[in-house]
Every structure is written in C-alpha cells, then in structure tokens.
C-alpha cells in the first residue's frame, strides 16, 4: 500500500483550488478530473500529461464543489452564489441551472445510480435532492435538531449542512454539519434515521467505505483534526484516527476499500492503512491547505492500482499513483 507521486500542475488555477472530482471514463475519453477554484472557473484535466482540456466559466464567486455523474457525460458545479450549474462534460453546454433559495449550496454528490443529485444545503439545515431527468427539486431532507436543545439556543443556527455522501447502494445519505454532528437519512423513504455524534467541529467531508463488506462504514473528516470511522447501522464509533495537525478538509476511500486518503489544512496528504490506526504515508508536496483528495477509478492497465488527485490552496493540482 503506497502512494507514488506522479506529477504536479503548479498554477492549475489562477487562485486557490477548492474542489476536485473524477469523471468516470466514457467510450470516448479516459477518466478525467474536474477541479473548481476561487478563480470562478471549473477546469477539466486529463491525468495523462497532465493536460488541461477545458476551462468552464459561468460561475460567480468561488466554486466550492464539483461532482460528476456516474455516466461520465454530465457534471455539476456549485459556487458561493448558491447556483448549481449542470453541464455537458465534453461540450461544456449548460444543461441546467439549479437554485433553491434561500438555501446555499455546498457539497454536491450524484447517487451511484445517477438518478439523483444531492446538494448540502448549508444554512437551510437540509440536503436538497434533484432528479437528474427533469432537474426538478424532488425532496428536501431536513436535519432535525438534537433532542434536548431548545431552538432558541445559539447552537440552533449551527445546524449548517456542509457535506453529503451516498451509501454504495444509494439508499442512505449521510450529511455532516458545522457543529460536528452527522445525520443519516433513508433516501427511499426520505426519512431521517439518526445522528452520529463524536465531532464537535465542522465535518467538511464524508465518504462511505467501498469495500463490499463494509458498506455501512462511514468515514468523516472534521476540523477537530480527527477522522472518525462509524458504523452507520449500529450507531457506533469504530475507530478514531488522529495525526493531522490541522483541520481535516477532505477524505476519500480507495476503490479497493483498503485505505483512505485525507487532505488537511496542515498542508499534507495522508494515506491511512485501515488495518492500522496510524497514517501509512504522509505526502508533503503542497504548500498550503489541501482542500480535496479524490481517488480515481482503477487503472485499465493494472486494476489493483488507481490514481489519487489532490488540490490545494497553493493553486496546484497533484496526481499520485496508489498501489
């Protein structure tokens, strides 16, 4: 289990790069990487090279999230002005512009089936679900307050939904909020199931395990510097990983489910061997916050390895080979 640095694109954007997501391969193209930045553009990269394929404009204020449809043909990006732009990956034609005021938009995720786009709704304390056929708002999953807290309390305003993740079967959604609580929803019944506690600081990134037997295992990255491993069904904390000296901004799980990668404000990317509770490898290539890490699909040449991309406030984009 190892990360080997491949290449780094300095000044991949004109300003801080805040988000990245892989676009699955299509018949015409290999897997590509989408990145979004404070410079209000979304860019498309071919890791071969690496080569910049496209620069999409059309957002105002910084781009905070990008997500790709499982088909690899369409993608969505969201910015601070609370618009979601859905576009054709190949042509950059706008397919739809979504908004649900006054809800702002943070993390975006398509469900594994590609039928629903989930968007973390920030201050609206909810996750908005858009259907991908008509681009209509189909449901709003509202996060209830924790029992015992009166609405008038100041903490009430802190149920601010930042991050969202789909379970591998597409039935569950987990969302993380500013106060550190994670909420689990049953999507099919659009029902709130329960909270997962343990963090007390913003949870900016969530991901379900990709290992076949661990479908109910959820990884969460928080500003408290810890990565928690939860059993979403049993409502238990399986493990807590510490080691980052700053906020953990992003977490992603490897396709084989054996490792997770995290990016942190401490400028490092860490690879964690899930068999151990410590970081297996620490990459120190970036000179500023690492806002996002993303594992790509397995390589066609070697199914046991894949690419990892990391983007940072230092405007750069790095690729690594995970094997």
């Amino acid at each position: 289990m190892k990360l080997a640095p491949l290449n780094t694109v300095g000044n991949a954007h004109d300003d801080s790069v805040w988000t990245a997501a892989w676009v699955p391969a299509t018949d015409e193209s290999p897997p590509l990487l989408l990145t979004g930045s404070l410079d209000e553009t979304v860019r498309l990269w071919n890791p071969e090279g690496p080569q910049k394929l496209q620069t999409n404009t059309g957002h105002c204020l910084g781009v905070v999230s990008v997500a790709a449809h499982p088909s690899g043909r369409i993608a969505a990006s969201a910015s601070i002005d609370s618009f979601i732009r859905v576009f054709d990956v190949a042509t950059n034609n706008t397919i739809a512009t979504l908004e649900a005021p006054p809800s702002e938009v943070w993390q975006l995720q398509f469900n594994p089936q590609g039928t629903i786009l989930a968007a973390a709704g920030g201050g609206s304390a909810s996750v908005k679900l858009w259907d991908t056929a008509q681009w209509q708002l189909t449901a709003t999953l509202s996060v209830p307050r924790l029992e015992g807290l009166k609405p008038s309390e100041k903490t009430g305003s802190k149920k601010f939904v930042l991050s969202v993740a789909w379970s591998p079967d597409g039935r569950q959604i987990a969302c993380g909020s500013m106060d550190g609580t994670i909420s689990i929803f049953d999507v099919t019944r659009t029902k709130f199931l329960h909270h997962l506690e343990g963090h007390n600081m913003p949870v900016r990134s969530l991901v379900y395990s990709s290992a076949p037997l661990d479908a109910r295992v959820l990884f969460s990255a928080s500003d408290d510097g810890h990565i928690h491993v939860y059993d979403t069904e049993g409502k238990t904390l399986i493990s807590s990983l510490s080691g980052h000296s700053g906020w953990v901004l992003s977490v992603d799980v490897s396709p084989d489910g054996m490792a997770i990668a995290t990016g942190s404000s401490d400028r490092t990317v860490r690879l964690w061997d899930l068999k151990m509770r410590a970081a297996a490898q620490i990459m120190t290539g970036h000179t500023d916050q690492v806002w996002s890490v993303a594992f790509g699909p397995p390589l066609t040449t070697d199914v046991r390895s894949c690419l990892l991309a990391s983007v940072s406030d230092d405007k750069s984009l790095s690729f690594y080979k995970y094997a």
Partner: protein
C-alpha cells in the same frame, strides 16, 4: 652471674656484691659505698644495675648521693667519674622529659637535666660525653641548631665519636637533610659495626625519606633481625606493606602492626593504623579506643591529627556529624598543613555540608582542591555547594572540570546535566545523554529519571520523536506498550482480509493487541462525546484478565509520553494514557486538565468543563483548573462567572500568580470593549483596571510577554499607537526568539497598529504572515482583518477574494457574505464614479452589482429562517441601494454599450468606405483613364459629404452623452437624498450626525470630496473599530513552558485569553453599513500545557 667487688678500706679485702641480688633498699649499699669510700665508678656500676632492673628510685638515690657536695669534696680529684655520674643523671632527666607528656613537668625535667650537664661542664669544659648529653637534651627539646653545635664540638675533637655521630645524624634528619644524616649513620656503623639496631633504624628511615623504599625495607628487616621486638621497624614495615595495596601483603602488614601493638601498646603510629584497619572492618568501638590511646600517648602533631581523623571518620560513618565535625576540626588544627594531610579537610567539608554550613564547607573543599586540583569527588562536592549557593556558573565550571578529569563518571555528567537544566537545555541534554551512554556501557541500569529528563529536554526542543523514544525507554514494558502495539493491528471488524501485519508480533502480543482493540472499540456513537470521562475501557480489560498496572514511579513519565503523543497529534493514544493514569491515580489533576484541553481543542466545551470539574473535586484550590475554567466560561460568554473564577484562582495563590492577574487584566480589557453601546465611563474604568493589573505583573516579572502585550492593547485603546507599536514590536521579537512561545496575537496586534496608522501594506503583510505562521491560513477572523485592510486600501478585488476565502472557511458565518456584498457594492460605486472607464469595466461592475443584490437578497430571505445577528432592514437598505446602483449602472451600461456600438458602427462605416473605395478604384481602372478628371472631382465631393456626415454623428454623440450624464446625476441625487434622510434619522439616534453625509458624498462621485471623507473616516474608524480588534492573548509565559518542571505546575494551565473582536470592522460608519458584528467575543485560547510534571523533576 656478675659481681662487683667493693674494696674494704685499709685492707686487702673486698665486699662482693652480686649485681642481680642488689638489696631492695639502696641505702644499704650506699652505706657500704660511703663507708668503704669505694671508687666512684663502682657507684655508677651499681646505679646502672639498678636502672637496668627497673629500680629507678634506687638508681636515682645512688647517683644523687654520688653527686652530692660531700662527694665532690671528697673525690675532688676524681673528675671523670663525677662527670659520668652527673651525665648519667642528666641523661636520666632528659629521658624523663622526653617521655613526659605534661608540659610543665617536662620543662622541669629538662631544667634538672640542664643543671646536671652544666655541673658536669663546670668540672671539665671539654668532656665529650657531656657535650653529647647536652646535644641530646637539646635535640629532645627541639633545639636543633644548638644540638648541632654541641655535637660539632665533640666531632671536632674526635671525628669518630659514635654517639656524637648518631646525634649529628639525628640533627640532620630533623632538619630534613636525609642524605647527610644517612652518611653519618653509615660512618657510625663503620666505626662501630656492633652498634644497636636503632642505628640501622636511622638508616632505614633515611632511605625511606629519600624515597629508596626498597633499601628502607631491607634496612627495616635488618633491624628486625637484630632486634625482633623493634616496634618502630615493625610499624614501618607494616606501613610499607599496607601501602602495597595487595590483599596478602596488607594482611601481613596488619599482622606486623598487631605485633608492634603487642610489644608496645603505646605506639601511636601503630595504634592509628590499627584504628584505620578497624574502621574499615567496621569495628567502631575498637577504633575509638585505639585512637583515644594514641591521642593520649603522643604529642606529635601529624600523628595526633591522624588519630583525630580516625576518630572523626568513625563518628562520621556512624552519622554523628556534630562529633565528627569536632574531631575533624581537631585533626585539622593539629596538622594545620593541608599539604601534608588533606583528608580531614575533605571530611570536615563533607560534615559541614551535611550540617548546612556551606561557606565553611566551601573553604575546606577549596583547600582540598588546592592540594589536589583534579580530585573528582571534591570538584563535584564544590559544584554542589556553589549550586546551592546560587552560583551556577561556578558550579557548572567545576562539574565540567570533573567530567573532563574523569570522562567515564556517569554521576558527574548527571549532576552537570541537572545543573545545566536551568540555563542551557542543549548542554544539559548532551550531559544527560553522555551519562546514559556511560551507564549503558557499564551495563548499569539507566535510572528512569534520567531517561525522563532526556525525554523532557527533547520535548522542550520540539524533538518529539526523540522525546517519545526516551520516554518509551524509561517506561519499559507495560500496558502502554501493548496499546502502542495494538494500534498497528487491525481495528476494523470487517476488514480482516490480509494478514500482513501478523509477522511483526509474537502470537501472545497479537492476542493482547486484539484484546485491547476489542476493549477499545466499538463504542456507542452518542456516548463517544463523553469518552474521556469513561473508564470502561480499563474495566473491560480487567474483565478480560489483562492486568492494568501502573507503577507509581512511571506515572510522570507516562504523562510526559502522553504529552509527546499529543504534540504529535496522536490525541487518541494520549487520551487513553491520561485515562489510564486517572484510572490508577484519580488524584492526578494534571491528567484531567490535559483531557480537558484535548476536549477543548476539539470544541467539546461542555466535556472540558466537566473534566475540570473533576479536577476541582480533587483539589478545589487547583489554580490551573480554575484558570482554565475561567477561560472556558469566557468562551461560553459567562462573563460574571469567569471573573469570579479568575478571582478565585488569584486568591488561591495569595494574588502572587501573574497568570491569574493577566487573566483578570484581559477580562477587564474585554469588558471595556465588549459592550455594543459604549459607556465611556465604564470603558475607562475597565481599561484603567486592566492597565493596573498588567503593570503590576510587569513589575513583578518584567519578562512577562503577555502582560506586556496586554499593556500594549490598553495603550492602543487609548490611541497611543506609537508607544503601543514599540511595545508590540519588542514582544514580537522576544516571542519569535523563543521556541516554546506561540503568540499569534502579537502579530495581529502589531498589524492592527499598522492599520491604525494607515500603513496598509505593512498591515496586510503582518496579517498574512500571522495566518500562515500560526493558523495554517484557516482563521477566518484574521482573514476578516485582512479584508478590512484591503477595503481601506481600496483594493476591492483582494478584499473580495479574502472574504470569499473566509466564507469558504466559515460557511455558516453570514456576516462574511454581507461583507462581500458591501465590498462589491463599494467596488461598483467607485467604478461608476470613475470618469474614464471601459465597457468591460462597466460590465464587470454590473455583474458585481447583480451578485451583490443576489447575496443581499439571499441573506434577507435566509434571515427569516435563521438568526444571523444582523438587522433585516439594513439588508433591505443595501438591497435597495444596490438595485438603485444597478439601475444607474444599467444606464451607464447602456450608454457605454451604445458608445461602443457607435464606435463599432463608425469603424464599420470606415471599413465600408474603404471597401467602396477599392471597388470603385477597380471599376475606374476598368474604365481606363478617359474620364479621369471628372471622376476625381466626383470622388472629392463624395468624400467631403462623408466627412460632414461623420462630424454630425460626433456631435450627436456628444450631446447625447452630456444629456444622459445630467440625467444620471439628478436621478442619483434624488434617490440619495431619500436615503440620506433616512440615515440621518438613524444617525441621530446614534449621535453620529457628522457622518451622515458619507453615503451621499460617496455616491455623488465627487472624487476629491470623497477622498477627504474617506480619510477622516479611516481615522474615526480607527478610534473605534481597530482598537477593538487589538487583541490580547496573554498566556503566561511560564505556562507555555509546560513541561519544565514540577514547580512550574503552579504557573501552568491557564487559559490565555484572546480578546479578538471586531465590532464593526467593516462599515464605513456605524449607520452606513450596519455591519454590527455579532459580538461574539472570540477567545482564541490555547490551553497551555497544564502539566508540568515531568521534565526535570524526579
């Protein structure tokens, strides 16, 4: 059987006297001698016989009778015999004098002896035996010079006179001229080979003194051959045996000593050596008896000194320091020459050190050092004394010397290291490491304290890996190691696919690890928040049969190890270890405080407070806990409670602790600037109080950075920026020079001052550096300061970007969104006011305005749902204004677009004309040159017409521009006057009338005017906003030291406060931009290392 025959007077007969049957009463024989007028030599023979038989009284009686005046008269012509009798008496008395110990009687005996010798001299001045006697008397009296003269007189007369030779040899010996003495002894032996063993003893002693040890030994042996009972020779041989340092010879030496003692129990020398022997065998009673006898029988200074020393040593080893000191002192007094006998000085020094008389001990040890400058033990002892006297440098010097003299003495390095702790961590670490290596080399066990110290020093230097290793080594095996190992094992129930990790561990370890893992996780997610107060883990382990042990001497080290883990961000493990400590030692408050600090770092304030509560349950006066609690209460906005807690903390130390005082100072500082509605009076009193507290702390401890920072804040609040700046700069320099001090606030404060003085570029740099250096660029509050600086510097783009970053970092803080809106609005307004602008600029402006409107309207709709802390109507106003601007901008935009369109049209026309020209030219060419002239005229006409047309277009354009401009302005004014009125009303409420005009002036696009206003504005803001921002984060310097030593515990753990607040950092004036920051006093607090335990203690 020997007889003497006394001739009977006037007859041939003789009286036969058997010498061994002399009558007990000497009077009988005297009567015979007198009656028969026996020759005087007979008297002498009989007296001598009495003497030999030990009948001293009779001996004296006869001789005294023999030297009486009648005899003188009667035997007047018998000179030699009379002299012999007198000399015998003289010798007798000088012997008495010699052996007498009491000074007065000694004197008397000597006087008697002198009298007899003088009498003898009167009979015959030149009799050599008298001179010899006199010489020996003088020698006995110690009058070496005179003795020398006496013997010289004899030797001048007869150079082979044996007694004189011996006497002279003795003189030379006493003078220290051993080779001369040896010569004389040899001559005496040549002259009289059968002389007694004592002569050879003299030779032996001379050899000894001359350093010919082998020859001396031979001579002593010869003495013993001749006289097996010669005590001196026995003692001398014994000594030389003892000095060989070999067990067997030492034993034979001791036997000789014993023999000497049996022969003559009053030889001080042998007594001393025997005492010495029994000292080492531990028979103190014998030591005392022997030395006391020795003291009684000798007057010889050095010997007495030795005896006293033995006695002192005996008492010393028995622990009777008073007595030992007395005898050491006596010993020192007797010898008084450190060069000859240094040991009692050392002993005295030791005893005095023990009794606390450091100064005397110091002088004694220094005397030892004068004699033996490289004596390690003495160097160390002196080092300790200097250390205790507070003269660290001298102490260090001595220890360094000691380590140089003996670089293999771990103890010396250990001592040196401990000494260096207070001054030079780096050197101390080196010393400790050397000590560790030496101990390891010697296969000795390295004490846990030493390893602990090494670890703590590494920790202080920020070398956490090394520190961890040292602590781990100190801890050895135990539950903690199982935990560390377990960490490397699988911790997920389902992810048990491969078995790679198995190889590293023995099966038993693996079992242990999996037991631990199963005890650790899983835990219920909802209880995970309270995990740090949960000891279930250990109960579970005990149920599983794992023994949960923690020896008392490893507690501190485990705590330190946990601190290292914390520093290396392995907070999980650290937390487990703190809990382990508490599980076994529930009174260990520091562990509670660290757990509280971890909880606080993870923003679990409630839990943190509970943990501190636990600590306070153990010790309700625990100052660290109180201070931390106060800080947490501040964080929770519990102002009154916090103040009480700080007071309690201050009282807990009788008000002497600077940390608590600084905290109270901070409290006052916050209190002064926290109120939205300013109460100048209250503010002034709070500031005054704060200043007083800071000043007091600074008086006690001028190096307290936090108090200095606080003082700077107060000064800045009062507008004394230059002084404040100086102060901050100094603190910053001091803080950046120290490894342990993390003080971002000072950077921020300095930046604030730069900002206040209009030094925007510098302020920006400061803020940026601070962000990068301390916060990984994640502190949105500092970003806000930065944005404000950009705003004041009119760098709109930077300002906007900075704010967007802040939004991204703190998405739920809607004030940032509002601020972005304001920045964009301001940017647009200023662009529109420009006299020259391109279409692109105007378009960008329009786009920005649209964004601003969108942001404001989103905010206003969101604020219906949530509580953001700002006024809806204010947002409304902004929306209104932006929309108005947008309208205005539309006009601008249309205008600009039209302008551009016209420009393009004109270009088109030109191009068309050119095209037309060309086509015409081509046509003309076809028509050849026949009608050239006419065509030329036509052409000219056409051109002229076109020119006219162009001019007309230009005119049109000009007039339209001026018209629209006029229109624009009037519109704006109308709108603005409305706003203005509204504002004035508001302003009136806030007593800030003078500023009500800003808004208009800004919009009215009067550049100069605006600049003025802006400037003033900046100044007024200065007074208000940035001052508020000036932060103070006084953390006690000492506390920051954390691990320093156990004494530091008092200073530790207290919550530094950070009074960073921006009340209205953003707005141009209160009423214009209602950016009332939700005044959340943010106390950036780092929980200090509350521990302390650790480092150099133990």
């Amino acid at each position: 059987m020997a007889f003497v025959y006394i001739p009977v007077q006037n007859s041939e007969e003789e009286v036969r006297v058997a010498l061994d049957q002399l009558p007990r009463d000497a009077t009988d024989i005297l009567d015979i001698l007198k009656a028969e007028q026996a020759p005087l030599d007979l008297w002498l023979i009989i007296a001598r016989e009495y003497f030999k038989q030990g009948k001293i009284e009779q001996f004296r009686q006869i001789l005294e009778e023999g030297s009486s005046p009648e005899i003188d008269e009667y035997y007047a012509d018998v000179r030699y015999e009379r002299i012999a009798i007198l000399n015998a008496l003289g010798a007798y008395y000088s012997y008495l004098g010699k052996i007498e110990t009491k000074q007065r009687e000694k004197e008397e005996h000597y006087i008697m002896a002198t009298q007899y010798y003088n009498k003898a001299s009167r009979i015959d001045m030149h009799e050599p035996s008298t001179w010899i006697g006199k010489g020996q008397l003088l020698l006995a009296k110690g009058d070496v010079e005179q003795a020398f003269n006496a013997f010289k007189i004899v030797l001048d007369g007869d150079r082979d006179n044996v007694p004189a030779l011996l006497g002279q040899a003795c003189v030379h010996f006493s003078r220290g001229r051993y080779s001369d003495s040896l010569e004389l002894y040899k001559r005496a032996l040549q002259v009289y080979p059968r002389c007694p063993a004592a002569v050879r003893l003299g030779i032996a002693l001379c050899h000894y003194k001359l350093g010919h040890l082998e020859k001396a030994k031979q001579s002593f042996c010869r003495v013993l051959q001749l006289d097996p009972e010669n005590v001196e020779a026995l003692v001398a041989l014994g000594i030389s045996d003892l000095q060989t340092n070999e067990a067997s010879t030492i034993r034979s030496g001791m036997e000789k000593m014993q023999m000497a003692f049996e022969i003559y129990p009053y030889c001080a020398m042998s007594l001393n050596y025997l005492a010495n022997h029994f000292f080492f065998t531990g028979q103190h009673f014998l030591v005392e008896q022997l030395t006391e006898t020795a003291l009684a029988v000798t007057t010889h200074g050095p010997t007495k000194s030795h005896s006293y020393y033995n006695l002192a040593r005996s008492y010393h080893s028995k622990g009777d320091y008073e007595k030992a000191g007395m005898y050491y002192m006596a010993s020192v007094k007797e010898s008084n020459k450190p060069h000859e006998f240094i040991l009692p000085y050392y002993g005295l020094g030791q005893v005095q050190m023990k009794l606390g008389d450091l100064r005397s001990a110091l002088s004694n040890f220094e005397k030892v050092l004068e004699v033996q400058p490289e004596n390690c033990e003495t160097l160390k002892a002196l080092g300790h004394i200097y250390f205790q006297l507070g003269q660290n440098e001298k102490a260090q010097e001595l220890f360094k010397k000691a380590t140089k003299v003996d670089p293999r003495d771990p103890q010396a390095f250990l001592d040196l290291g401990e000494l260096l702790l207070s001054t030079d961590d780096c050197a101390a670490l080196d010393a400790f490491k050397t000590a560790r290596n030496l101990l390891k080399k010697g296969n000795e066990e390295v004490p846990i304290e030493l390893l602990n110290n090494i670890g703590a020093l590494h920790f202080d230097r920020g070398e956490f890996e090394l520190a961890g290793e040292a602590f781990m080594e100190a801890l050895g095996d135990g539950l903690w190691r199982d935990f560390v190992d377990a960490k490397a094992q699988s911790s997920f129930r389902n992810v048990e696919q491969s078995d790679v990790s198995g190889e590293r561990f023995s099966p038993s370890r693996k079992v242990q690890s999996s037991l631990i893992n199963s005890a650790l996780y899983p835990i219920d997610a909802s209880s995970s928040l309270h995990q740090p107060r949960d000891f279930q883990l250990f109960h579970r382990l005990e149920e599983q049969g794992t023994s949960v042990e923690l020896p008392w001497n490893k507690v501190s080290t485990l705590f330190n190890f946990a601190r290292v883990l914390e520093q290396m961000h392995d907070t999980e493990m650290a937390s487990i270890f703190y809990r382990l400590i508490l599980f076994k030692y529930p009174d260990y408050t520091d562990a509670y405080l660290r757990l509280a600090a971890i909880a606080k770092a993870r923003n679990n304030i409630q839990l943190s407070i509970e943990l501190i509560g636990d600590a306070l349950k153990v010790d309700d006066k625990c100052q660290d806990a109180l201070l931390m609690l106060g800080d947490l209460e501040l964080k929770n906005d519990d102002w009154v409670k916090a103040k009480e807690t700080f007071r309690a903390a201050k009282d807990a130390t009788d008000g002497t602790d600077s940390y608590a005082a600084v905290c109270l100072g901070n409290w006052n500082c916050f209190a002064a600037i926290r109120n939205e509605k300013r109460a100048p009076k209250l503010e002034a009193t709070h500031l005054e109080k704060a200043k007083e507290l800071y000043t007091k702390v600074l008086q006690q401890n001028p190096a307290n950075l936090y108090a200095a920072n606080g003082a700077g804040v107060v000064l800045a609040e009062k507008g004394q920026f230059d002084i404040a700046k100086d102060l901050f700069t100094q603190v910053q320099e001091a803080a950046s020079g120290s490894f342990n001090v993390q003080m971002p606030d000072i950077w921020i404060n300095l930046a604030h001052v730069h900002f206040a003085q209009g030094n925007f570029a510098l302020a920006v740099k400061m803020y940026q550096n601070c962000l990068r250096k301390f916060y990984y660029n994640t502190d949105s509050q500092v970003l806000l300061y930065l944005a404000r600086t950009h705003y004041e510097a009119e760098q709109w783009e930077d300002c906007k970007k900075t704010l967007l970053r802040a939004i991204h970092l703190a998405p739920s803080n809607y004030t940032f969104r509002f601020d972005v809106g304001v920045a964009m609005q301001k940017f647009s307004a200023s662009t529109l006011q420009k006299t020259k602008r391109t279409v692109d600029e105007v378009r960008a402006t329009v786009a920005e305005l649209k964004n601003a409107v969108r942001l404001f309207s989103l905010l206003s709709s969101a604020s219906n749902l949530h509580f953001h802390g700002f006024d809806e109507t204010k947002i409304g106003t902004h929306v209104g204004y932006c929309q108005h601007l947008l309208d205005a901008a539309k006009v601008h935009c249309e205008l600009a677009e039209r302008e551009e369109q016209k420009n393009q049209e004109r270009i088109k026309v030109m191009q068309q004309m050119e095209l037309a020209d060309e086509s015409r030219r081509k046509a003309e060419e076809q028509r050849k040159f026949q009608l050239e002239k006419r065509k030329q005229e036509d052409e000219l006409k056409q051109v002229m017409q076109q020119e006219k047309h162009l001019e007309r277009i230009k005119e049109q354009w000009k007039s339209s521009v001026s018209a629209s401009k006029r229109k624009d302005r009037s519109q704006t004014e109308e709108e603005e006057s409305g706003h203005g009125e509204k504002r004035r009303r508001k302003g009136g409420k806030r007593k800030k009338k003078e500023k009500t005009s800003h808004y208009e002036s800004e919009v009215e696009a009067d550049m100069e005017n605006q600049e003025d206003v802006e400037y003033e504005d900046a100044n007024t803001n200065y007074r208000e906003a940035p001052d508020d921002q000036v932060e103070n984060n006084p953390q006690d310097l000492l506390a920051a030291a954390g691990l320093e030593d156990s004494d530091a515990e008092d200073d530790a753990a207290a919550p530094p406060l950070n009074a960073s607040r921006v009340r209205r950092a953003w707005s141009e004036s209160d009423e214009d931009e209602p950016l009332q920051r939700q005044s959340e006093p943010e106390h950036v607090v780092d929980m200090q290392e509350s521990d302390a335990e650790g480092a150099s203690d133990d």
